[in-house]
C-alpha cells in the first residue's frame, strides 16, 4: 500500500493524468465557452452581465476549496509528518491564489454594471481579499525560510489561522447586510438558479477544475524532479 505512494509511482500517475487532461481539456473548454457565451440565456435583471458568473463563481469555489485542502493537509502533516502533504500544499497554493485573484477581479468587473461600483468594503468582498492575503503569506513562507521544519510550522500556522476566514466568506452574506447576493446554489436544499444557467456553470466549473488539476500536477511533478535531482547520487 505504502509502496504505491512512493514518489516514483506518483510520478508515473501524474504523467498519465497530465496526458489525460491534455487530451480532453480543449474539447470541454470549447463546450463550456459555447454554453457560457452563446447558449446560456441572459438574466431577466442583469442581462448579459450575468455571463461573468461563469468565470467568477468557479474561480471563487476553487480558491476556497484549495485553501480548505491546504488547511486539512497542514493539520494532517503537523500530526502525522507525511512529507508528500508538504509538497502537495506547496504545489496547490499558487493555484488557489490564481483563482482567488480571478474571483476578486471578475467580481469587480461584475460589480460595476450591476451594483454601480468596482469595489465595496463589504463582508464578502473584504473576506475574499483577506483570503488572498493569506495565500500571499502562505506562499511567502516557502520563499522566505530555508529550513523545511520552519516552513512547515509557519505555513501550517498561517493555513490554520486563515481557515477561520473560510466560514466567514461562506456565511458573510447571511450574517451581514452585504452588496453581494446570497448563495443561489445550495448543496442541501433547493437552488434558485435555473437549469439553463446551472448547466453552463457546471461545465465551466469542470473546465476550471481540469485546469487547476493540470497546473497542480505540473507543479507537483516539478517538486518530485527537484527532490530526485538532489538525491540522484544516493539513488
Amino acid at each position: 500500500m505504502f509502496k504505491f505512494f512512493s514518489s516514483s509511482n506518483i510520478y508515473l500517475l501524474i504523467q498519465k493524468l497530465i496526458k489525460f487532461i491534455n487530451s480532453i481539456f480543449f474539447l470541454i473548454l470549447v463546450i463550456g465557452l459555447t454554453f457560457a457565451l452563446v447558449l446560456s440565456p441572459p438574466d431577466y435583471l442583469q442581462g448579459d452581465a450575468v455571463r461573468i458568473m461563469y468565470v467568477h463563481v468557479p474561480s471563487a469555489w476553487i480558491g476556497l476549496a484549495c485553501f480548505s485542502v491546504i488547511t486539512l493537509l497542514s493539520v494532517l502533516n503537523f500530526i502525522f509528518k507525511i512529507k508528500n502533504f508538504y509538497f502537495i500544499n506547496k504545489s496547490l497554493a499558487p493555484v488557489g491564489l490564481l483563482f482567488t485573484c480571478l474571483a476578486i477581479v471578475t467580481g469587480s468587473l461584475w460589480g460595476q454594471p450591476t451594483w454601480g461600483t468596482w469595489w465595496a468594503w463589504d463582508a464578502r468582498l473584504t473576506s475574499m481579499l483577506v483570503l488572498m492575503l493569506f495565500y500571499f503569506l502562505y506562499i511567502l513562507t516557502f520563499k522566505l525560510f530555508k529550513s523545511k521544519e520552519l516552513i512547515i510550522k509557519v505555513s501550517s500556522a498561517i493555513a490554520i489561522l486563515g481557515s477561520v476566514n473560510l466560514p466567514i466568506i461562506k456565511y458573510s452574506v447571511e450574517w451581514w447586510s452585504t452588496l453581494h447576493q446570497p448563495a443561489s446554489i445550495k448543496i442541501t436544499g433547493s437552488s434558485s438558479i435555473h437549469s439553463d444557467m446551472m448547466l453552463p456553470l457546471m461545465v465551466m466549473l469542470l473546465v476550471f477544475l481540469l485546469y487547476a488539476a493540470l497546473i497542480f500536477l505540473m507543479k507537483y511533478k516539478t517538486e518530485i524532479i527537484r527532490i530526485k535531482k538532489k538525491n540522484i547520487k544516493r539513488d
Binding site: 516514483s8 465557452l33 457565451l37 448579459d48 461573468i52 490564481l98 497546473i215
Partner: protein, 77 residues
C-alpha cells in the same frame, strides 16, 4: 446577431474583459509552469550526465523518475 454577441447588449466590455483576464492569466501561468518543469527536467538530465557510467546505471536502475525523464528527452530528441 454578431453585433449583439460582441456588444452583449451593452455589457460587452465587462463580459469580454472578465473572460479575457481569466483566460490570459491562466495561459500565462500554464506557460510559466511548463517552462519551469522543462527547466528542472533539463537540469536533472545535466546532473545525470555528470555521473560516472556506474553511478548513472545505478540511478537509472533505482529511479523510475530518472528512467521517465530520460525516455521523454530521448523521444524529444
Amino acid at each position: 446577431m454578431i453585433s449583439n454577441f460582441i456588444t452583449m447588449n451593452g455589457y460587452g466590455l465587462y463580459v469580454w474583459l472578465s473572460f479575457s483576464i481569466a483566460f490570459i492569466s491562466c495561459a500565462v501561468v500554464y506557460i510559466k509552469t511548463k517552462k519551469t518543469l522543462k527547466k528542472y527536467e533539463q537540469e536533472f538530465l545535466v546532473e545525470l550526465q555528470t555521473l560516472t557510467l556506474e553511478e548513472k546505471n545505478k540511478a537509472l536502475e533505482n529511479s523510475k523518475v530518472a528512467q521517465q525523464i530520460l525516455a521523454i528527452s530521448s523521444k524529444a530528441n
